[in-house]
Structures are given as C-alpha cells and as structure tokens.
C-alpha cells in the first residue's frame, strides 16, 4: 500500500462520540445537540469490547421523537506505548420499529498530542434514508498529567446526504476526571455540543 494511501487512511481515523465503550462495568451518560438532533444517551459496557444503551432522540430533520436501542462493538484495537487505535461498529434500532434503524462504523487514532477520527452512519427510516459522515482531527496545545484539565483544539467536517454539503468548523474539547465536554460552532449549523460523564 502506498504511503499516500496510508496517510489518507490515517487521517480518516476519527471518532466524534469519543469513547463509545467504557471499561468493564462502566456506565456513560451523554448529551448531544447539533443540527441533526438533540439526544440523551446512556450506555453500559459489560466488557470493554461492547456497550448497549438507550438514546432518546428529538430528530430535528424530520421533526420526530423516538428512542434507539443501541449496540456498539469494538472491532479492533491496537495499543502501543504512545498510541491507541480503535475501530467500532455501531447500530441502533428505533422505538418506531424495524424500518427505523442505523448502522455504521467509526474509528479513531490518538496519542497524547494528536487525535484523528472518522465516522460513517447509514440511517434508515420511513420518511427518507440518508448517510451521515464526519472527519475530525485535533491537537492538544499542552500535554496534561493525570487529573489535570485536558484541552483539545480540533477541526471537524461533517456531511449528510440530505444537505449533501460538507461543513467544517472548529471544535474545542475539554475533559477533567470523569467529565468531558466538546463544542463546536458553525454559522450554518449553529452549535454542536457533546457532553459526557462516566461512572
């Protein structure tokens, strides 16, 4: 495989829903709001390889409310001394029935200084099916120690097949202890906010 292809693949390794699986026995609560949806998502990880959860969604595209029963599986992880790479499979089935599902993959690669990730999701429903894509990359302006406030400066690009237009905007991510908040802003899509608490 050529170096260029490898570099492209590397840049495509990203993840918006940072850490979609917790440690064994861990729970995670998330709030997500963007131009597509407002949602509250809780998941539990029986092992570090998968999580099951419920997401309550206010769908801003089709003006609907429903819940997803979600399943995320860690397909591949590579730990090294200075990095970690992950590839996840994600899926959900809606309370509206089996005609309303989503599935896709997302991945990330990170060191203490650099983060990259990607995601692809196919959403099926009774109104209009669509695809959702994102890419994200960022750097840590300083390398914090355990227990410090950690900060990431990122760029995120996303597109769905309904608007069929890429939006790229800056994202700031902070985390300390068990709490994480990530927010971005774009004049067309307004705020993109993601909060997470692990317990």
């Amino acid at each position: 495989m050529g170096i260029l292809v490898k570099m492209v693949l590397l840049l495509l390794l990203i993840n918006v829903e940072a850490r979609p699986i917790s440690y064994s026995g861990g729970s995670t609560a998330m709030l997500i709001t963007d131009n597509m949806k407002d949602s509250v998502y809780y998941h539990y990880s029986p092992t570090y390889k998968y999580s099951v959860g419920i997401e309550t969604v206010r769908d801003l595209i089709f003006n609907q409310e429903y819940s997803y029963l979600r399943f995320t599986y860690l397909m591949n992880r590579k730990n090294t001394r200075h990095s970690q790479r992950n590839l996840y499979f994600q899926s959900g089935i809606s309370s509206k029935g089996t005609d309303n599902v989503f599935y896709g993959i997302h991945g990330d690669w990170e060191t203490r200084r650099v983060f990259t990730g990607f995601g692809f999701k196919e959403v099926e429903n009774t109104i209009q099916d669509y695809q959702d894509y994102f890419l994200q990359a960022g750097i840590a302006p300083y390398v914090g120690e355990y227990g410090d406030l950690h900060t990431w400066l990122m760029l995120k690009s996303k597109k769905n097949s309904i608007t069929n237009e890429w939006q790229t905007y800056p994202v700031l991510k902070f985390f300390k202890g068990d709490f994480l908040i990530e927010f971005g802003y774009d004049s067309k899509i307004n705020w993109d906010v993601h909060m997470m608490y692990r317990f």
Partner: protein, 149 residues
C-alpha cells in the same frame, strides 16, 4: 436493507472469526521483573532506584515520592501499560484497582505509561491478576516492578 442491518449485527462475530484483532496490543512484552527493591534510600531519601535484578525503576522521582508519602508497610507495584494515552481512558484503571481492599492508593503516570499501585504487605501481588484488571479497561500491562516500603 433490513437484512443488511441484521447482518451488521453479526459483523462482530464475523470480524472475530476472520482474525481481526480485538485483543488490544497483541504484540507486547509480558516480561515481569517481579524483583523487590532493597535499595530504599539510594540518594536524598528517595525510594526509586535500582532493583535487585539491576533494572532501573522507571518512575518519575517526584511523582513517586509524592505517591508514597505517608505510606508504610506497603508494596508498590509499578505497572507498565500500553494504550494509556489519555486521562479519560485511564480513569477506569484507577476505579478497578480501588475495588481491591488490599489496595491503599493508585496513581497514573501518563507520561511514562505507568500505573502505581500501593498494596498492603499481606497481598501476594500477581501479575496475571494485574494484567486482567488492566485489560478489562482496554489497555495492556506489559511489565511489573515491585518495591517494598
């Protein structure tokens, strides 16, 4: 498309059987020093020096001294961990070790990829047990050094 979705649910098992690695860090050193330090005050009263097997203890001296402050009659396990690249993902390690009643204190040194665990003196420290705790958080323990204080 529903069939594709259902197939997707089985993707993990397909991935598993097709040899996709889901075991984090399949290539790592399982060496276990397991050597206890008897050089407890090599210089300036610090407790972080050379183990009896000649290996250097790979810890941040300042962090280590702070960690052992006020501890007595304890064993310190210094665990080398792969994949511990962020604070948020290391939280589970601390929580997992703290469930063990023989554990007095836990610290994570992200810079050096080390987890410091202070056990009471009665604990028989087992590297396999430590590796299981680390892997339950999704990382890999690759080495262990033990000191008595």
């Amino acid at each position: 498309m529903k069939i594709f979705f259902l197939l997707g649910l089985f993707l993990p098992s397909i991935a598993w059987t097709s040899g996709i690695n889901t075991e984090p860090g399949e290539a790592h050193d399982h060496s276990h020093s397991g050597m206890h330090s008897h050089d407890h005050s090599s210089h300036e009263g610090h407790l972080h020096e050379t183990l009896v097997d000649g290996k250097e203890l790979e810890v941040d001296p300042e962090r280590f001294d702070k960690f052992i402050e006020g501890l007595a009659d304890s064993q310190i396990a210094v665990v080398s961990v792969n994949g511990m690249v962020c604070d948020f993902c290391a939280r589970g390690i601390e929580k997992t070790f703290k469930k063990d009643k023989s554990v007095k204190r836990v610290d994570v040194d992200l810079s050096r990829g080390k987890v410091l665990v202070a056990y009471n003196n009665r604990k028989v420290i087992d590297f396999e047990e430590i590796k299981l705790k680390i892997v339950s958080n999704g990382q890999n323990a690759t080495d262990l050094q033990i000191l008595d204080i």
